[in-house]
């Protein structure tokens, strides 16, 4: 084979190789993504199970109370504010829509059902994710990259039991309570805009609220809140705990990206879970 023939062959082989890579790229990327997703799902499941098992160790109560204060009590003000304005907007929009059909008497039904069944659990979960979830990821992530978690392990303090379990339990306690607060303040917000500002009948509003809400609506809302609590706590803790293993960055940048991922992923999963849970509870 002459040198020119060799060069021609090499160029052709290279061209075929590039074409092959181009054609297989979508499959390779999808495959890698799928494998990574399965890995993370497996790891997250084990992470959650171990953290749940370690809830029952001694000396957990004070840590759980601290976390309930941080995740729950400290989020109360922002939840009240968001729920008030959500209820008010709902009251305002619904009143103007209902008045066209002369059905402004159903304002209480619309506001109460929208809030208790959907908006209450979902918006509460998203607000806690933004306020407490991001902080959990950042805090655990910093503890990881500054070797504080390794320090716990060297002191024979179980890092999952010490850092993660109390946060999961505190989320499961806080989410339904904050959802209930959201629902109540939201209904009050609907009253403020619909009745006090737009002139709907106050008696009809509260009668409709009471008449349309069933116990199942409330319990379904709480079930959703618990599901969202597990999702938010798991995603935020997992992202922080494994911030040092991110492939896209290291150090402080990894903590920043982990926090962003935690918030985005939590919000997306909340909405997906909302659809699934609603379908199952119907």
């Amino acid at each position: 084979m002459t040198l020119n023939e060799y060069r021609q062959n090499s160029a052709e082989q290279e061209k075929r190789g590039r074409l092959f890579t181009f054609l297989t790229w979508p499959f390779a990327t999808t495959g890698r993504g799928a494998i990574s997703w399965v890995n993370h799902m497996g790891a997250a499941t084990i992470f959650l199970l171990l953290a749940c098992l370690k809830v029952f160790r001694p000396k957990q109560l004070s840590k759980i109370i601290q976390q309930v204060y941080y995740i729950g009590a400290s989020s109360l003000l922002i939840i009240m504010l968001v729920s008030l304005f959500t209820g008010m907007v709902l009251g305002l929009q619904s009143y103007h829509a209902l008045v066209k059909f002369g059905a402004q008497g159903s304002l209480g039904t619309l506001v109460a059902l929208s809030l208790v069944r959907e908006l209450g659990p979902v918006l509460t979960a998203i607000m806690i994710t933004a306020r407490a979830g991001s902080a959990i990821t950042a805090q655990v992530g910093i503890e990881r990259i500054s070797e504080q978690i390794d320090a716990l392990d060297t002191m024979r303090i179980d890092s999952l039991g010490y850092l993660i379990s109390p946060r999961i339990v505190a989320s499961i306690i806080s989410f339904p309570i904050l959802t209930a607060v959201f629902d109540l303040i939201g209904i009050f917000g609907g009253y403020v805009s619909g009745v006090l500002l737009l002139g709907a009948n106050a008696g009809a509003y509260f009668y409709r609220v009471q008449e349309s809400l069933e116990l199942k609506d409330v319990t379904d809302g709480f079930i959703k809140a618990v599901v969202f609590a597990v999702i938010v706590a798991l995603v935020c803790c997992y992202q922080g705990y494994f911030a040092h293993m991110r492939e896209d960055s290291r150090g402080a940048k990894a903590v920043g990206l982990a926090t962003t991922s935690a918030v985005v992923l939590s919000c997306v999963l909340i909405l997906i879970a909302d659809y699934i849970v609603t379908s199952l509870l119907m």
């Binding site: 000396k59 500054s146 070797e147 504080q148 390794d150 320090a151 060297t154 002191m155 024979r156 303090i157």
Partner: protein
Amino acid sequence: MDTPLIEFKDVTKRFGPRTVLDRVSLQIYEGQVTTIIGLSGAGKSVLIKHIIGLLKPDEGRILIRGKPINEMDKNEMDACLAGMSYMFQDNALFDSMTVYENVALPLRETTNLDKAEIDHRVMDRIEQTELGDAIHKYPSEISGGMQKRVALARALVTDPRIVLFDEPTSGQDPIRKNAILGMIAEYQRRFGFTAILVSHEIPDVYFISNRILALYQQKIVFQGTPEELEHFEHPFKDEVIQSLEGLQQELTSLYSKRQFKVRYYAQLRRDTSEKSYVVAVFTLEGMDDVIAALGHEAAQEAIRCMSVLINKHFGAVGGFSARRGMNEFMTVLPYSDIAEAEDILKDFIEDFRGQGIQDISARALKRAASGGCVEFSIRVGLAQGQPIAGIDSVIESAKEQQKEVARLRCDS
């Protein structure tokens, strides 16, 4: 020799394609201070993280008291780890906890001691590490040196049998470096634990170490005493020790031991004339009392002042000096005899008694963690030698001739 407390047998560790430890074998013995030296990034921290179980070897075995770690059941492993403490290079203090809470954490979480007992033990360690004024402060509110001491207090609060120190002096000034090393040596003597240090503070670590392990190109190339390391012939010595060990010791500004020997060989051993030289050995006595009364930093300041004074008198007449131990110095006066040396020493003693000892005391008190009475003395010995003979016997002879020449008393 006894069964090693910790033994590595052909341990290999890789991170991806990079081999960090390659068939490393080593022994660490109980009750000793063992220091692992090597260049930055050589894998020293990786090596000691295997001991405490933070990392697992890819190949090879790690034995504790002759039993492989991987064959231990959970209870045995827990019992092993219960006796170990680890002081991280960057301290790994919990920044959301106060100094007191950081030190108390291992006792609160891993023991069933009552609050009063925990408080007693924590305050003991806090006072021993001179952190009394900082107990309610957060790590971000205290200096780097104090953070090191908090990490040290936390590592010692559980009364461990083995303490691993990962570069305990990194980022410290020379006085604090030596103060921390002095503190480790003192606690090791007092509590009898086995200390394993990772350091590249050469030669400072020699003064406190019983054994040195040299990590070079992924392998342990030397295990032995600091004295044996001086006679060790290997590229490690040229590449690592000479690059880490400055020509002068950082704290005292005197020659390092190696440079001292180089100067001795260059100036005296090659000289075929029969001129003699004199060796003076100085010892600061009572440093333990200074540490107890004023703290480690004050003691290191006293050592630094002492070296300045020695250099002032003996350096001016062509002498060269080095630090020989924690509180010991040696000086060579080339081409001198004992009579000339005694004249120079007389001036030194007069200066030392007149101004020097007061200076040392005043400077030490400035660095003191707490006010107190300080009492110490200096012993000096002289011996004459011939270049044809070795210097070691002359140094020993000077040490035997030592007598007290000055003393600072509390009432003076």
